[in-house]
Symmetry: C2
Subunit: 220 residues, 2 copies
DNA sequence: CGGCTTTTTGAACGGACTCAAGACGTGTGG
DNA sequence: CCACACGTCTTGAGTCCGTTCAAAAAGCCG
């Protein structure tokens, strides 16, 4: 469920930060594998993510990492000063927001982030393993789907164990549920990391806990 | 696990809001039982709680309420526009913060609230029933303890079922764990709602998942 | 290919749930 | 003051979902 943090995982901090200018905003780039550490305690940096994926884990006092959120395009990620770990899983194009100039937008984003965390709490409190996984697969597909229209296929930014960690499950359970979802033709796996949503309605019904999905299953 | 919302529970909105002026800040008062509804969508009100207790529940699309957080003295509570329910459980003296004038403080509070939610996610993902309950009892005692120094005794603002809802457990389980904690002399119950922490160390060890607490148990 | 991690699948176990009955507390009316 | 009703709380017995442990298969990269 939880992963011990090996020493070398927490060393790097912004190895490369290639800058480029697009429009008026200054966009910077984090390559895959970058690990952001909580730096100076006073000013928590605020990133508006344009592209890519950041996986955020909290570090408990006992040194155990708990994966708590996955940020994608459009999300605002505030790296708190609390002991934590933010890993770039997909090449990440971002913009650093200034608290003064973007006050209103940052505020609204933070309120949204709180609600997002509360939705996740509700997920953990009220749903079974199958429902949890179906739910996050829908979310991930909408966030990271290759085709912006269908959102059908996506590259999972997490291993099975990490998905389990995020959802309060074990990797084995995630694997079992994936197999079950494939059996029900809700999804399919291209490779282990390439996932394709085959039937949104089925997946959605499973996510909502509807046992018997009304209406016929769509062919392919 | 979840409670259906009966129609009459969501009607009232700020029945009385007695104002009084203390220092420079305008303090208002919510009596016990007040139910705050998400009002106008644009401006989510921001409350700095000086005294009392607000229990915040999210409403899922299926009409099921999920208790997600308990706010107490010193907390900043932003009532989002998302469908939700905020109930005043202990007479609540509060201050409405202006986004302009308290920008910096509000920002820091929101970041803290996100971390608080993430800690709760970690709790749900990584702890057993006993650990979860021991953890929140410590938190509640520190937040709502009658004596600000010892924090030993407190009035629980939640029923067993609600604590269970908050922690992803059933009321029966909460009750069983309470009995077990009493058996271990970690806590005691004066009445069903009046709880007393008898041994902080024991409770803390249980919360952290330490099986065998080092050191002798303190007498009473 | 060889060594590594990740993933899959199975079988047995256990913690929390479910259902049910009874005890306790509290408020109400006689 | 007691009797009663009602909601909350406690406790028990059986069940089930997700875990644990283990082994093998599949990917991945030098």
């Amino acid at each position: 469920m939880n992963l011990m943090v090996t020493p070398e995982r927490r060393t790097v901090s912004r190895p490369f930060a290639e800058k480029r200018r697009i429009g008026t905003a200054v966009l910077e780039l984090f390559p895959v594998g970058t690990v952001l550490c909580a730096s100076d305690p006073s000013g928590c940096p605020i990133y508006l993510i344009h592209e890519g994926c950041i996986v955020y884990s909290r570090l408990a006092t006992n040194g155990i990492a708990q994966l708590v959120d996955v940020y994608g395009p459009g999300d605002v990620f505030v790296h708190p000063s609390a002991p934590s770990l933010a890993e770039v899983r997909m090449e990440c194009r971002y913009e650093v927001l200034s608290l003064r100039r973007h006050a209103r937008m940052i505020h609204e984003s933070l309120v949204e982030n709180i609600d997002r965390a509360h939705r996740h709490v509700a997920l953990l409190c009220g749903k079974t393993a199958v429902q949890r996984i179906a739910t996050v697969l829908i979310d991930l597909a909408l966030q990271f789907g290759a085709d912006p229209i269908t959102s059908a296929t996506l590259t999972l930014p997490l291993t099975r164990t990490e998905i389990g960690d995020w959802l309060g499950l074990r990797g084995e359970t995630v694997s079992r549920v994936f197999s079950e979802l494939i059996r029900q033709r809700a999804i399919s796996l291209d490779t282990n990391r390439r996932l394709c949503v085959k039937n949104w309605q089925t997946l959605s019904c499973i996510a909502d806990g509807v046992d018997r999905c009304i209406g016929r299953a769509m062919a392919i």
